[in-house]
Structure formats: structure tokens, C-alpha cells
Amino acid sequence: MNINKYPEIVPGRKFLKEFYVGIMLWVVGRALQVAAKVDKEVKAELAKLPNNFTLRMMVAPEKAFPLFFYAKLLPSFVTDIGLLPYGIQMFLHKDKEGNIKYIGADPKGKKADLSVIFTSIEAAWLVLSFQESTATAYMHGRFVVEGDLPHSLTFVRALDIVEVFLLPKIISGLAVKRYPKWSEMSLMRKFWKRIVIYIRAFTIG
């Protein structure tokens, strides 16, 4: 038998989806950082996490791509949004005073206390393009959680609130189980905060 007839296959990459997911992780990270400052509810939710706590969101597998030698030459903006060198991930850190800060995409020297891991790039795409709600995605095993379960629930809840802030109802209505009624979240609060979070996420943080 000629075994060369059946070559070994190294599957490729989905660059567009990688790019989108990388950017979305960056947006989510920055938005959480800002929301924790400007919104009481998100703040209260994240206050349940212990101080000096590092959270990671990433797409499996972590070691998918060998470090490119030129990775270090790229502007930090590129590495920050999770492109190319490190697999796609982002880190949030809660410091001793309880402030939440987005601390980039470079895993070097960081030890995550809680990891939210999308099981594949396609899974991350389904969730971050809001085709599946966080709850549905959890049910469908699109992401797994490494670390203490209570912490991950806290995080998912904070994420849900931020989603309502960031997205128009027609999209976030799909992403959360119960869209807050006006009694729970005032129109003012939502729109004002939507603007503030967007502006600050992309600027001062």
C-alpha cells in the first residue's frame, strides 16, 4: 500500500474569526473595567470576587500557535487585542483595593485564578457574535470554566449586565435570559452608561 496517497493534514486557521474574537475580547475586557467604575450593580457583583484576583478569558487551545519570533516586534496594540502570538485571550485583574483593570493579552507571568475557556474558535464566535446567549452557551458547553464555580457565576452575571449596557435590546435580548424591565434599570441609566462605557472603553479606560 502506498501510504503517501493519504497525506497527513494539518488543519488551517480562521483568521477572520480570530480577528473578530480577538477584538471582542478586548472590548469586553475594557468594558468590564469601565463598567466596574461607573455602574453600581456591576461593581457590587464584581465585589464578590476576592481581591488580588486574576481572571482570564481565552479560546482553546492555549498553545495552538508557536510564538512567532517577530511577535515582540509588533505594536502592543496588536498583541493586546489577542492577535497572533499568544492564542487568543485577555486578562482582567482585581487589585488589592478592589479596582478592576484590563491587563492585556500576554499570559506571561500571569497566573489566572479563574479561566473562562471557549472550547473552540467557532464556539467563541457563536457566543461573541451573540448567536447564543451566555446561558445557552454554557448549556451547550461552548465554554468551560476552570477555577471556583461561584466566581465564574459572578463573572457571568457581571457580563450579562454589561451586555445589556453595550448592546441594543434587539441583540442583548437574545443574549440574556431576562431583559431588565424599566423598573429594574432606567432608560437614562442604560443610555447614559452605554455612552460612557463606550467612550471610556476606547479611550482612558
Binding site: 488551517g12 487551545p61 458547553g141
Partner: protein
């Protein structure tokens, strides 16, 4: 609900069905510490252009496909398994993916025995040597025509059967990108096989709650989607439902006793070399007609599964057995004339029938007599099992 005084049940395979099911394979393999599978594919599936789609789902993962061995056609022979085993070893693979149903799965199981037990052929096992331990992880991606043995603890290579619990595949992937059929005929044949299996489980007197729980959704999906799937083989929803039904029926059936239709079809298939699914399509209506005539009592599970909750509850208790059989007859009827409906149409030699009746009765463990089998076959000769 009937609980036998003693029963054993095993449904080893994990089922992953639906949107992006294929993308879960790397994680599943990772759970077994494996990342280099050998793919054993049906030629027909590859020819339909599904190979590219399949490979693409592994993007951005650590998995490397050790090779796609796509020489599997209708027949599973040991020489193919040996070739694939050579490829497996040469590439240093650690797991197997069967892309396609039927012979691809039989072969994948055989290859798995060869490479896990480090042997060249299966003859020792045919002689009765037991398979010693867990084999390499085996994932089945369902596509193409099913022979009803996919989820079973058995393989058939060169028409010889080998049974062991270790042969059950570890994972079934049912993905809407892979399941749509090529033609109504192949959908009908898989459907007839699943139907015969689910029917056998649900009408068996030794039925237990576990087999019933697995055969129930199989029968429900067949009732709802078989006619639609045969008419429109490319319909994604129907094809996913029917693929589910095939896997579930096969899993339940491997825990149950064969029914008359399965036994007779098996005998005729062996004698003629035509696939059993075609005979099941022909014989099942006659078997049901005979059961209707005999007014045999069967468990409620059949009617519940076939008619759904509302239909079941609306029928008085005394009529459920009969209605269950009638609905089953209708489900088979949904196959219309996509496949031949009588043995005479198939030009089966008449002397095969006698032999088949005798052998089936002998294998039934005294559940059916030779005369009963013969009369069913006589009916099936000219499709007397009426379809409403």
C-alpha cells in the same frame, strides 16, 4: 410500566448532536489525551465534497489528522482494515474517526482492534478470544447509509461478527453539515433499519425502562421525520433527527432481543448479499400485520413513542396496543415506493424463504415458530401487508 426481574443495560456512546457538533471533536479527543486521529471515510461521503468541510472544522485546534483513508465502499473487508492499520502505525496516530456510517464504522472498529491489540488479523477473536481492554478512542461522524450496527457492541467484517462491549464507539457526532443524504433511497434504507430496530425493542416482552427510554426518542423521530426525510433527503432538520434515530435505535437494539423482522431480514440478506435494510422495509409491514391479527399485547411504550404524548393520552387504554401497531405500519408506509415493497419484486429465490424461516425461528429462542415466520414471508412475497 414493566420492569423485568433481571436485566442488564449499557449505552456506552456519547452523542453530540446539532450546530457546531464537529467543532467539539478536538476537545473530545483532548479528554482522552489524543490529538492525532486517523480518519476512515466512506468513499461516497468524500465524493460528495464533504471532506473539505470536515477538515475545516479542525481549524485553530491542536488536532492533526494522521491521514484520511477513504477507500471504504459498500463492503468491509479485512484487507482494508489491515491497510488502514498500517497507515495508523506509520503516522503515529492515537485515535480513530469514522467519517460515515455502515461499513466505515465496522472497519474503524476492526482497525481499532488491530492497532490496540497489536495483531494482524481478527481470526483469534473469531475463534473466541476476548478483547482484553479498552481500545483507542473511536469517534463516529454520522453520514451516509446506516446499517444499524454503529452504536452496537459488535462489528462485522467479511460477514463475520465479533461482539465485545469494548467495540462501542466512544462518541457520535451528528452534525447538520454532514447528515443530509445523497438520495431518498439511502435515507429510506437507514430509516427502515432504525424502524425495525426500534420496533423490535419496543415490542419485546423483555423490555426494560432503560431500553425503552432510548428507543422512545428514536421511534418519535422516525414518526415525525421519516416521510419528510425520504422526500427531501437534503433537509437538514430531518436528516439530523433521522441520524439521531439511527444511533438511538442501534444503541437500544444492542441491549434487546432481535424481532422477527430483524431475524428474517438478516437471514435473507446473508443469503442474497443484498443489504438487510431493504428486506426490513418489505418484511416489517407483514410482521406488523401478523401481530395485529394475533392481537398480541404489547407495552404502552410503542404507542407513546410513535403517537406522541397527546395522541397517546387521547386513546383509551384498551386500544393502545392496536393503535401502536397501526401507527408503526403508517411510519413504514411513509417510505412509499422508494424501496421495493415485496420479495417478488426483489426476485428472491423462493427456496431462500424456507431456509430463512427455519433459521430465524431457531435463533428466536422459541419466541416465534417456523410456521409464523413462513407465513410472514409468504405475505411479504407479494406485499400483502397493507399500507394505509
Amino acid at each position: 410500566m414493566h420492569i423485568p426481574d433481571h436485566y442488564e443495560f449499557l449505552n456506552h456512546s456519547k452523542i453530540i448532536s446539532g450546530k457546531c457538533a464537529l467543532e467539539t471533536i478536538p476537545a473530545e479527543l483532548g479528554g482522552y489525551d489524543a490529538q492525532k486521529p486517523l480518519v476512515i471515510a466512506l468513499k461516497s461521503v468524500v465524493e460528495r465534497g464533504l471532506k473539505k468541510k470536515f477538515i475545516k472544522t479542525f481549524s485553530n485546534s491542536m488536532v492533526v489528522l494522521g491521514g484520511i483513508y477513504d477507500e471504504v465502499r459498500e463492503y468491509a473487508g479485512i484487507s482494508l482494515a489491515q491497510d488502514a492499520a498500517i497507515l495508523f502505525k506509520a503516522r503515529g496516530c492515537d485515535s480513530i474517526i469514522a467519517l460515515g456510517c455502515g461499513p466505515a464504522v465496522d472497519l474503524a472498529k476492526a482497525v481499532n482492534v488491530l492497532v490496540s491489540e497489536k495483531i494482524d488479523n481478527l481470526s483469534a477473536h473469531y475463534e473466541g478470544a476476548a478483547i482484553k481492554g479498552p481500545l483507542k478512542p473511536l469517534i463516529v461522524v454520522t453520514a451516509g447509509r446506516s446499517n444499524g450496527r454503529e452504536a452496537a457492541n459488535a462489528l462485522v467484517v467479511d460477514n463475520r461478527e465479533l461482539v465485545s462491549d469494548f467495540l462501542c464507539p466512544d462518541v457520535f457526532i451528528i452534525d447538520p453539515r454532514m447528515t443530509p443524504g445523497s438520495c431518498g433511497e439511502s435515507v429510506a434504507e437507514s430509516g427502515a433499519t432504525a424502524m425495525a430496530q426500534a420496533f423490535a425493542v419496543l415490542t419485546d416482552r423483555g423490555i426494560n425502562p432503560m431500553t425503552a427510554a432510548v428507543a422512545h426518542p428514536a421511534m418519535s423521530y422516525l414518526a415525525e421525520y421519516l416521510a419528510k426525510g425520504v422526500k427531501r433527503p437534503k433537509n437538514r432538520q430531518a436528516s439530523v433527527a433521522l441520524a439521531n434515530a439511527s444511533v438511538m435505535a442501534s444503541a437500544a437494539y444492542s441491549n434487546s432481543r432481535p424481532g422477527m423482522a430483524n431475524l428474517l431480514a438478516g437471514e435473507l440478506a446473508e443469503a442474497t448479499g443484498i443489504s438487510a435494510g431493504r428486506f426490513e422495509r418489505i418484511i416489517l409491514p407483514s410482521v406488523i400485520a401478523a401481530m395485529l391479527k394475533k392481537k398480541a399485547w404489547i407495552e404502552d411504550d410503542l404507542y407513546l413513542a410513535a403517537a406522541g404524548i397527546d395522541g397517546y393520552a387521547a386513546t383509551p387504554a384498551g386500544e393502545r396496543t392496536q393503535r401502536g401497531l397501526e401507527v408503526s405500519l403508517n411510519i413504514v408506509g411513509g417510505l412509499k415506493k422508494v424501496l421495493p415493497v415485496s420479495l417478488s419484486e426483489m426476485k428472491v429465490q423462493k427456496h431462500f424463504l424456507e431456509k430463512a424461516a427455519k433459521a430465524a425461528a431457531a435463533k428466536s429462542g422459541k419466541r416465534f415458530t417456523e410456521a409464523e415466520c413462513a407465513s410472514v414471508l409468504a405475505q411479504a412475497w407479494d406485499a400483502a401487508g397493507k399500507v394505509k
